[in-house]
Structures are given as structure tokens and as C-alpha cells.
Symmetry: D2
Subunit: 346 residues, 4 copies
């Protein structure tokens, strides 16, 4: 038996004893969870916003761990390996996986952990398609840094920065300075933008944005004017949506210059209004995306070379047995100032 965070339907979760996972497929691995974190998406699930998650499901899709057992079809991962458990699994065979787009896997992968199958907020977890869903962690990389590559950093990098095609010298606006927005600011710096502006309502988040590298900050109602000043009236080259509500998306499309790009990272629950009556002639590109994790290997390499310092996103640390406290702290981020909270085995 092991302890796990079990979803009990909207509003209900328990940290309880459940059976240990076992291999169900030749390409599975069983991993002992050494460090795990909680995602904003987990809170959405608990609110009942993700109806395909069934009662009884173990939540969690981000972890670092140690491989205990592998199926006989696993080639690249060995027992004893220290691995990153990616939020996205890939069958490696379907048309999307063959293009590195594991997030859209048609062969049983994609986002399944803590969603369609049991997840990582537990002492042990079964990971399908182990060869293409687990990543060896270089010795010089710590658990905390690696853990941020399970979801938040690849998401910020692929869905925000690469989709937004940030280029040297660009003016980049990041709307939303929560964890994912701060990760986007971090990832943007890899392409040497000329100016990064963070937009948020909360003063504390804007303060954090500056520490993560934003050159200026703005409240939503100031953003349009400040962007105008910074770009001689033209608008931003790239605008990144990192909130997930209609108002912020609409703000993004109002801040972008002709020929610019809006990259949506936010998880939306409602439609937004797209002002095509002005945008139709503006040569604007809008992208959406679930992370594909094609960049996970590269980001791990950048942790190893010291180019990224992702543990800065972690504000609170807990023992894994304090899972409910960690949820409480993360769930009240406005009060606690939590960005990412992590739980460790030891």
C-alpha cells in the first residue's frame, strides 16, 4: 500500500492509503516519487472543471523519481535511473508523436497522468510509454530544478516563447505574472528580447516579475498606454497570454503590433471575443497549444550547463506526507504568495 492524493469528485480530495501500482503494459515503468508539485490544473480538476477526471483518480502530472521496475519493452530507461516524469506521455508511433508533438498523441499518450490514469501525487506511480515519457536527469541537476521541467518550463518555452517566435530585440509583453507567466519571462530571456513587460493586477506578482527579469510592469489598465510609449505607437512584437480568462486574452490582441504574434498559454474555460473588425487587416498570428515536450531534453541540457535556474519558481517546500497542507498553501496563493510548491520524499 502507499499514500496518494485521491480525487473524490468536485470539491473532494483525500490523502489516503491505496494499492501500489503495477506494470500493465510492456512499455510501462514504475517510479518512486522523490519530488512532486501541484499544478493550477489540479485546482481546476478539484473544482469540477475537467469532467473527464473520474472520482477515485490519483491526481498529479509532474514529478521527479527513481525507476523501480520496467516492462520488458522498455529500452532506454533502466531500474535505478533518476528520472523526470513529464506531464505528457507519447506513444512514439502516431503521426503527432512522429513530429515531436506528443501533447497531441493519438496512440494513448498526451496528457494522461493524473487525468485519465493515476498520477504522480503519490508515493509511487506507473508511467506508460516509459521510453518517450521519462527523461534521465544529469547528475549535476538537482531535483528542484528538474521538477520544473515536468510541465511549467516546457509549456512556457514551447507554447509561449517558441509559438510567439520571440527574437533578439523584440518587445515582449507577458499578461499574467503567476507561475506560468514568470516561467515565460524566464524562457523569453533565452532569445534576448529588448524589452519585457509584465502585466498583472497584483503588485506582489509584478514585483516577482521584475525579479524574474521583466524590464517594466503594468496593471492591465495601464498596459496599452505603456506599450504604445515603448514602441512609438506600434504595439508589441509578441504578447503572451498567461492567465486564461477572456479579458486578458482580449487585452493581448489589443497590445500586439501589425505583423506581431499572440501566443496563448492560459487554460480557458470560456470563449473570448476576437475583434476581427480591427484584427482582420493586421497580419496578426494567434497560437494556442498544449505543451508537446519536444524541448524537454534541450531544457534539461540547459539546466546542466547552468543556463536556466528554474528552482527560483519554488516558494514553499513540504514533506510528501503534508500533501493537504501543500494544496492549502498553493490554493491560497494570493494570501501565501505561493508560486510553485513542492513535496519531497525526504
Amino acid at each position: 500500500m502507499m499514500k496518494a492524493l485521491v480525487y473524490g469528485g468536485p470539491g473532494h480530495k483525500t490523502w489516503e492509503q491505496v494499492p501500489l501500482p503495477d506494470l500493465q503494459d510492456r512499455e510501462d515503468a514504475i517510479v518512486r516519487v522523490d519530488a512532486v508539485t501541484i499544478c493550477g490544473t489540479d485546482l481546476h480538476i478539484l473544482k469540477g472543471d475537467v469532467p473527464e477526471v473520474e472520482s477515485g483518480r490519483i491526481l498529479g502530472h509532474e514529478a521527479v523519481g527513481t525507476v523501480l521496475e520496467i516492462g520488458e519493452g522498455v529500452r532506454e530507461i533502466a531500474v535505478g535511473d533518476r528520472v523526470l516524469i513529464s506531464c505528457i506521455s507519447g506513444c512514439g508511433r502516431c503521426r503527432y508523436c512522429r513530429e515531436g508533438s506528443y501533447g497531441q498523441c493519438l496512440g494513448g499518450g498526451g496528457w494522461v497522468l493524473g487525468h485519465l490514469i493515476d498520477g504522480t501525487q503519490a508515493e509511487f506511480v506507473r508511467v506508460p510509454f516509459a521510453d518517450t515519457s521519462l527523461y534521465l536527469i544529469p547528475d549535476v541537476v538537482g531535483d528542484d530544478d528538474a521538477l520544473m521541467l515536468a510541465d511549467i518550463l516546457p509549456t512556457a518555452y514551447e507554447v509561449g516563447i517558441l509559438n510567439g517566435n520571440v527574437r533578439p530585440g523584440d518587445t515582449v509583453v507577458v499578461v499574467g505574472a503567476g507561475p506560468i507567466g514568470l516561467a515565460a519571462i524566464t524562457a523569453a530571456s533565452l532569445f534576448s528580447p529588448g524589452h519585457v513587460m509584465a502585466v498583472d493586477l497584483a503588485e506582489s506578482r509584478l514585483e516577482a516579475a521584475k525579479q524574474f527579469g521583466a524590464h517594466t510592469t503594468a496593471r492591465p489598465d495601464e498596459a496599452a498606454e505603456l506599450v504604445r510609449q515603448h514602441t512609438t505607437g506600434l504595439g508589441a512584437d509578441v504578447v503572451i497570454e498567461a492567465v486564461g480568462v477572456p479579458e486578458t486574452f482580449q487585452l493581448c490582441t489589443s497590445l500586439v503590433r501589425p505583423g506581431g504574434r499572440v501566443a496563448n498559454i492560459g487554460v480557458h474555460g470560456k470563449p473570448a471575443t476576437l475583434h476581427l473588425e480591427t484584427l482582420w487587416s493586421q497580419n496578426v498570428t494567434i497560437t494556442t497549444g498544449l505543451v508537446d515536450t519536444f524541448s524537454t531534453g534541450t531544457l534539461l541540457k540547459m539546466l546542466a550547463t547552468g543556463q536556466l535556474h528554474t528552482h527560483r519558481l519554488i516558494t514553499h517546500r513540504f514533506h510528501i506526507d503534508d500533501m493537504l497542507s501543500a494544496y492549502d498553501t498553493f490554493g491560497r496563493a494570493a494570501d501565501t504568495g505561493a508560486l510553485k510548491v513542492t513535496l519531497n520524499r525526504e
Copy 2:
């Protein structure tokens, strides 16, 4: 004096005597209009939808003509040249023009003809920035074919096909089978899509779409089911919006596959609803655009080699003195079956 189609405020137009144009800038040319056409945008102006067009303005932004006079700063164009008058002028110096994005010119170009300055629905017209706004027509290319390259073909090609990144074997859906939709179907064929589906309400337009190369056709209410059947449930690789109302745009975003592209060509007067609650995770790219005309030279070359046959878009021909009849025929397209109507000097 000369005859010209003069806008007299919403609902009013006259074909009347006006003064001849003269050179106002060193880079201007005066061109005798040999063939001219009417754009859907001209109808929008007449409805009052384009408020920056002032009363007294000569309309029209598409023509073929003969150069009568040039400013002393014009280098590439000579008196006597047979030229295409592009709907877009470019200063050739601003940051957008330097990237070939003349449609977004910041230096006095962009869409100005028949909009901010007098246009081509006249016997003579002044064209600014002649070197980067006029195109020599090869001898083997007829006026009718060339005329379709003033606006509709580059728009379909750049804003529809290139923005949509149509690739060999793709399933492409074109929503709207009016002139611009048919031009998009024509232009799509340059990239050998595997299947082109045209969507429209009017049976006659769907019939036309087939003649222009659509493999199948659908009414809007059938489109989703037919696309699903054709793509084993996945959705279309590329969807092109060629109408310009919220319903058709929303249809487009519902037809595209994960990882696919929606290229908007339609001129919109109202916002649309963007269903981010489903699209956020779908890796979808949405583009908008005014034509930049970077492809005009290439398209002219393809007319010369016989790769394009654009005169097929022309359904009605008039003498230029019958401008008002031409407007009437074009304005009642549902009755007359008009696609493009042209007016010739002789």
C-alpha cells in the same frame, strides 16, 4: 477633364467629370486606365462601412494601364509601359516595406488608392511610389489575367494559402465560394493539396467551386460531418475564411484539426467568438492579414508561364463608360451570378 466614379457619402456614387490627375510627388506616375474592376470592398465603402473614405473620393484600387507620365524620382517604370496597378503601394523605406510587407507600410503607402487618395475607377489615375506599386506586365499576359493580380489573387495566395501553409496532400477547407474563395481554391492548387472542400450556402457558388477545382462541396451545416469523414475524425489541415462574418469564422475554427491552421481572408465588420475553452489545447494557429503584395511579381511570372488562368474569375465585361451598370451587376451578384466584373477602355 476625365470621367470617374466619385463617392458621395454612404449610398451615393456618381460617374462624373472631374479634373485630370497630375504629379504631386517625384515618385508618382500618371497612368491611363485600360482595364479596371470592382472589389467587394468598394461596396463596403458605399455602405459607409469604411468611414475614413471621404466624400468626393474616386474609388477603385485595381487596374491595368499605360504609363503616361512619371516623376523624376521614378527609376524602374517608364512612360509607355503597360503596367499592373497594385491595390497596395509601398514607400520602400519603412521597416515593413523592407520586409516586403507593403500592406503595413508606415511611410505613406499601404492601401491608399480609392481609400485615402483618388483611385482607379477613372480614365486616369495618379499612383504614388510608382517603382514599388506598379508592375511591368509581360507581353504574353493579357489585361484580364493581369487585372486579377491587382488584389484578389495576391490576397488569396498570401493571406490564404501562404498564411495557411498549405502543403502537398493536405485537406483544405475554403469557407465561402465567392470570388475570393474561388481565388483561394485556385491558389491552393499550386501546393497540391490532397483534398479541397468548398463550403457555401449558395448552390451556384458550390457549382463554381467545383469548376475551380474543389473536390467536394458542402453547405455550412454539413461541413463538420463531411470534414470528419474525410479526415478520420481529425479535422482539416488548413481552413480558409473567405466570407467575413462571425458565423463563418467560428465554423472555420471548429473544422481545423489539432496542429492545423485557420487563415482569415474575410473582411470583418464585427467581432467573432473564439472558443478558447476548446481551442486552448489544440495547437491551432490563426492568422489575419491585409495583402502585402510581395508575391505579385511571382504571380505575374506564373501568368506568363501559363501556370495560372485568372481570367476565369471574370464573368461580366463592360465598357468603362458603363461603370454604373457594372456596379449594379456586381452589387446584385446573387441574382446576376457575377464573380469579377471588368471594365475596359476599348
Copy 3:
């Protein structure tokens, strides 16, 4: 036991009885060969040009067949399936396979059939990594058409046309009008080039090039002048090397325009001279490549829709028992006019 074409060291080959292949790995499949062809590379091997091929090796890396047996790790392919055997296998897990670059596989794939392991010129063959190396053939596609997708068509398409970035209206020169050059001419047409010129020494091949869609043809000593005439002195947009000797490669780099591309398909045995003293300032891009086969699925789809007719490359057909006669015919192509020769089980 079965019959197979066995390499016996430089200059030696036999069609002899050998043991049947059996499964060696969980991801293997055993396939009955229904149709097979001979590649120019097989002739190179027989000359001793590919020293890593050991004596005793069964040659051949292109076939169409029926799956007889699969390992327990195979998910997508089933016994009884009619499949294309690709010249390239992919482990599906290494950094190259994750980008769709199976030709550079680091995990035991790449070009292995008839090279590092026994190949397809036999009655039966073991195919490793079956899920990512075999392709289901749609019912409407015949064996002959499909067989051309084992190597020659994806090579022409990926290494020639996509690397060369052929665009609508382009002037494309294909140097070498043997089978791979003709396949390149066929594949180029998917992007609507404005002019395709074939260059070869043999009149019969130039004749074939015209039938495959070349607009003009030239002997090597005429090519420079003809390209100049066709491009107002500028040079070709794209030049494709489809021979594999220094002289033809050097011809290619002399025919390309500033800003153009040279895509090398030819298999070279000797270095070439790169005239950097002129090319350094010409903004030229030169690419090389082994086929990656990321396009195989798309090309199969285009066979199914009737967009490609690849069986036109086949000039001679044999029963599989006449393997040695087929080699003789293919090896004396200058005399026999052979392009691709195929061998069928029945």
C-alpha cells in the same frame, strides 16, 4: 528455407537457398516479400564501395509485402497487413527519431536493411522496429506504386524538393535524369515550379525527363547558357544534384542564383571542389541528406488520392526467381533503358 540474393564480396552475388528469418526482437516483424526492386546503391555495394556490408549479407532495402508474424511489442502492425517496407528503420526513441529524422537514428535504425542486417531481396525478410518502419498500404494503391515509396520517392521529395525548398514559379534544374532525377522532377511538380530543366549526357534520359514533366533539357555543356537565358542571367532558384560525381556537383553550384539552393541527392564516392572564391558572397545554401522518411505517410496518401503516379518509373518487371536477370537488366541501364526494375512473387 527460402531463396535470397546473397552478397559474396566485391563482384560476387548469388541467388541461393538460405534459412528463413525469425523474430529476434519484440519489435520485429517477419514479412513475405510480394514485390521488390533494386537500387543503384545495391550496385555500389557489389562493386565494393560500401565496405561495411559483409560477405553473406542478403541485399535489398525496398519492398512491398504481407506481414506473417510480429513480435509482442508491435502495436500498430498486424499479421496479414499489406505493408510497405521502408528503406529506413527508426527506433522511435532517440533524439533524431523524435524529430522525424529516422535516417539518422542513433538507436539501431537508419539504413540497416540490406546493409547491416539482411534485406528484402529474398522471399521473406525480418524488419526491425516494425511500428515505425512498415507502412500500411491503402487498398486503392497498387504494389507497383507503393514500391516506389520504399526509397526513391521519399528521397527525391525530402532530400531534393523539400531541402531545395522549391516554391511556385521557381526555376528548378535537375542535374541527372536517371531514376532519382526523374523522381525529383515528379516530386517538384507538387510545388508548381515555373520551369524545370533536366540536364544529362544521354539523349534517351533527356527524352524520359520530358515525359516526366521537364520543360526543357540540356547537355551539361549547354546548361549554363540555357539557365542564363531562362533567368535573365541570374541563375536557377533551385538546383538538384542527382548523379553523385564531382563534376555534376560543381555544375550545380555554378547554375544557382544568388540566394538560391543546391540540394544534393547523389551518392558520392569522392570529394568535390567547392568554389568558395565565388560562392562565399552569393548567399547560397547547400544541403545533403539521407532520406528521413518523415514524408512516407503523406506520399502514400497522395498515391491514394491519385496525385502521384509513381509506377511510371518502372520499365521492367520480373518474377522474383529471375533476380539475376533483373540485376543484369538494371546493371546495364544504358543499354536496356532500365529505370526501375521490379520483381514480383506472382
Copy 4:
């Protein structure tokens, strides 16, 4: 009259009195030279390696100055402006200029200053196509920093880093640690490579490379082994040739990984050997290029934001009257340690 550096045929140069330049075309500007530098190419000209340079020509194609007079066709530049004189002029009208490829201008631009017309190593200079060849310098940018954007930085950035497609985390090898190699190391950092290795024979240059940001250095004979160690045997993602002799180019093609890129910046006087017998199957891309200067505006913006510090390339400063001493110092760089030498009016 004014003083100027006049080429007198191979081996001969004088700093002598010559007539003042005057406007010859409506789009010309006359600029007072405030700061000027010497390029390695000037030394090539003096050796007689650039035969199209005629005796009597004033050399120099890089400067910062003040506009004294403009032709009536100049719109964007005004008398009194402090400007960067780019090494490349662009007509702004030809097919290459329309794509931002001014280096390949067909309309009378390209590299003309100090080559086909009199250049910048003088007290005053006539600049053709002033609007597209001069760049306003922001107030916060000093002459020294700006001067490095006349040639060396855009060349390193466009021809080295952008052609090489340097990406975050990449292993980049720069062969040649002279001024252009150091500029390439500087420019590479804008894309956050994981590892930059500089290769040169001179210890002093390798020392300089470290100061400009190289992580490791190697002599040419060590490079292959060190690259192998750093990349687990695979090879470098991007290799940049910054010397211009056959040996260094060949070294570059031996260091690149399968699927990697070799970007040639070096000015070559002789052909190199291209080892196609191994490269043919390696999916390698090789690029060449004269700078197009499409990035000059962006680089100026990055100077203004403090993202680039290009004056670090300047090792020696002279008064403009000491032109011959400056040439001497620059010409004996191995002894003097000169990187870029600059000459100032005051």
C-alpha cells in the same frame, strides 16, 4: 579639397588631397566622416585580390558621420542627422531589396562603397540610396559602438548566427577568433547556446575569445577531439567559418553533427574541398553570404537597450589624419594584437 586614403594599385596606398564629393543622384547624401574603421577586406584589396577595384579609388565601407547635404529624392534622412554608413547600399526596388537582401541588390547597390565607388576612409563621402543605406543613430549610442554595426556585427549576426540557426542550448564552434570570429561569438550569445568553442592557432586570440564569451578554446588540431568529447561523439550543432581558407572550411565540415549547419562568413580566395563522400548522407546544411544588413536596425536598437557592447572589439584608436599608422597597426595584427582600429575626426 579633403584628405582620403587612395588605392594606387596592388601594394600602393596614399593619404592625399582629393576633391570633395558632390551629389550625383537625387537619392545621394554627402556625409562628414566622424569615425571610420578598416576592414580585413581593405587589406585584400591592397594585395590586389579584388581586381574590380580600380586604381584611384578611395577605400573604406564603414563609418559614422553627420549628414551635410541630401538629394531631393531623400525622404527619411535630413541634414544634420548623425548616421551610420552601412557597408551595403540598397536600391530598395529590385527583387532582392524587396526581400531585405540588400547585399545582392541588382539596382546599383550592394557593396559599392570603397569598392565600385569612392568610400569612407576620407573626410567626406557620397552615399548613394541614402534612405536605405544610412541609419539614424539613437542619442544614447556612442560612435564607437555604432561603427561596429557598419559591417562586422551584421555580418556576424546574419551570415554567421542566423544562417547557422543557432538555438538555445546548442553547441556552437567558431573557427577563427579574429575580429569577425569574436563578433560571431558575441552575436551567438543572443540565442543562448549551451556551449561556444573558439578555434584558432594564436593563443592571444583564444584568450580574447574567452573574454568575448567562448566557454572553451582549441587549436585546430585539437578541435575534433574536443568537440567529440563535448557532444558524446555526435558533433557540433552549428559551426561557423570565420577565416576564409580551405583548411578551416574543411575543418568546419568535419566538426558538424548529422543534421547540423556550417555557416561560412570567411572571404575566400581559393576553392575548398567538400568531402561529399562522407557528407552526402549527413543531412548537413552549408550556407554562404555577403551581409544583407536587414538586421542593422534591430542591432542598433539592441545597442540602445544595452544588450550589445560592440566597442569591445576596438583595440586601437587614431586621429583620422593618422590613417597610414592605423593601416600599419591593423595590417600587423599578429604583432600589435589589433582587432578593430578606429579613426576619429576629433
